[in-house]
Symmetry: C2
Subunit: 315 residues, 2 copies
């Protein structure tokens, strides 16, 4: 088994190919052609940490993938990154471990950003006034980068809790060619933007329905575990199209989980990305629609991006 480090993985990965592989993965997942065992989750109360293990096998592939990702939120005080992780690629023909991708969580961040691009392609309004971003971290940055191929709009309005975070984001986005406005309230993002990405670890609703413009699309990527929430359930309920990466997972802990629990929406209103990509469910139908994509992260994304990286690294 070979080990590859993060710089080697970043250098080798073809993002456009990874995007297509992830689209194929979503389609296969929604068609029931992916083995996705239950997520394994640990909680380390003493260390304020958690770990989750996501594994997947797309039927017919030569490989399958086991992904570990950790979040230890007191690490920064020790001079360490909060998030770490790795992926193992194994042969689906012999069981042999083939590669350890010591990506430190980069592939997970990237497959999440690529899912953001995929849903924006399906649901973003034709004319984007300004892109709105909640959050200033790695995912908030990757999501903006991945929206650049989807829209020509180069206006971004960003909200975050920390002034330092906002300053850092401004420098990052300006370097990409964006005109940047930082704001003190999520409300100001909602009022100025019709393509919004929520990428925070919030545990309470940040966006309210009353603030939104008609025809806005929202991608919510923060609610990847129980207890997390970025959107008011009434906002979720007011969306005219709701796309989810996984019905099962989003019903357990995504944004839609809160609205389902409150009885504001029904399971039948949820369409999976894979079903939309396959043409079995509609994406955006008209410019006036409020659309929502709820992304909790599915192991098939990991398997597909890992396979893509592994193939490239094999040369």
């Amino acid at each position: 088994m070979k080990t590859f480090d993060k710089p080697a993985i970043i250098a080798a990965l073809d993002l456009d190919l990874a995007l297509r592989r992830i689209e194929e993965g979503f389609i296969a997942y929604s068609a029931g052609k992916v083995q996705v065992p239950p997520v394994q989750a640990f909680s380390f109360a003493r260390a304020n940490g958690d770990c989750c293990i996501k594994s997947a096998y797309l039927e017919g592939s030569d490989t399958f993938t086991v992904k570990l990702s950790t979040g230890f939120y007191d690490n920064p005080a020790l001079g360490l990154a909060s998030n770490d992780g790795l992926m193992l690629v194994l042969s689906a023909c012999t069981g042999a471990p083939l590669a350890l991708l010591a990506d430190g969580g980069w592939l997970t961040a990237m497959r999440t950003a690529l899912a953001g691009r995929i849903v924006a392609q399906l649901l973003a309004p034709g004319r984007v006034e300004a892109i709105g971003i909640l959050g200033t971290g790695t995912q908030a940055r990757l999501q903006l980068e991945q929206l650049m191929p989807v829209t020509g709009c180069r206006q971004v309005v960003v909200w975050g809790r920390s002034t330092a975070g906002l300053l850092g984001y401004r420098a990052f986005a300006e370097a990409l060619g964006f005109a940047v406005r930082t704001v003190a309230e999520p409300k100001a993002v909602a009022e100025a933007c019709n393509l919004i990405v929520c990428a925070t670890p919030s545990r309470e609703a940040l966006l309210r329905h009353a603030w939104l413009q008609p025809g806005t699309h929202i991608t919510a990527v923060g609610a990847d575990a129980p207890g997390k929430q970025e959107l008011e359930p009434a906002l979720v309920a007011s969306a005219q199209r709701i796309i989810v990466d996984s019905r099962v997972q989003c019903s357990q802990y995504g944004e839609v989980a809160h609205a389902l629990k409150a009885g504001l929406i029904a399971q039948g209103q949820l369409s999976e990305i894979g079903a939309v990509l396959a043409g079995h469910a509609p994406g955006r139908e008209h410019e006036g629609q409020l659309t929502l994509a709820d992304l909790t992260g599915v192991a098939v994304q990991d398997a597909q991006i890992a396979r893509c990286a592994f193939e490239a690294l094999q040369g």
Copy 2:
């Protein structure tokens, strides 16, 4: 993260310390002090293979473990071993991956054999007439080795499906100092032995109650997945003490699962190894008792043996 190969792991592991750690692990597991997420299982129909991922964290430990084990049963035709595997040891303080134990499944085989020793210590009759072994593979060998500290008996009666397997086992056991008798039917094992280990991948009952001597102890390690079975359910029902590594797991797919499903025994008859070790449930009570230990393999065993190997390898 450091990678250690099988020879280094074998050289470093102190088996007596591993035994104690696994006993501590069973006690903690039965006391509800171990996080054991659901097992992840894959099936690769085309390649006649499977993979399972078992992870555990014993509360208070500095590390936690994720274990992958694969079985690809057409591998021998390709000149490869059927079983492979590895364990990852991670920090429970920072989430950092600390070690990859590329043991090829050896640690799993050894923790299973050590569990066999633990239950034999608790349940074997005081006077062992002869040791009986069903199976001639790696686990059938390790189990015999691990019974040597438990009993002075050096008579072994072994049954297996293949003549070559029996010849190989004879040479192995004679080298350990055993007088060896190979037999053509499991019945002959039951009639001659009062300490029996079943270590086959059988999918049908091999042993029947009617053949057994009074006071026999049976350890069954083969039924580690749905569909596997080594004992007649009536034999399970006739045991006066039934010890299991995990009530939940054994009720799903262990030997006791078949007897539970048939309504021949009740959940209340099952005691966990950890409860017996902690003194909360009895082991063997008298020489006449028929006793049974059903081992399906619990992730806490992996976590404890991996931790033990990791600490030794760190020096």
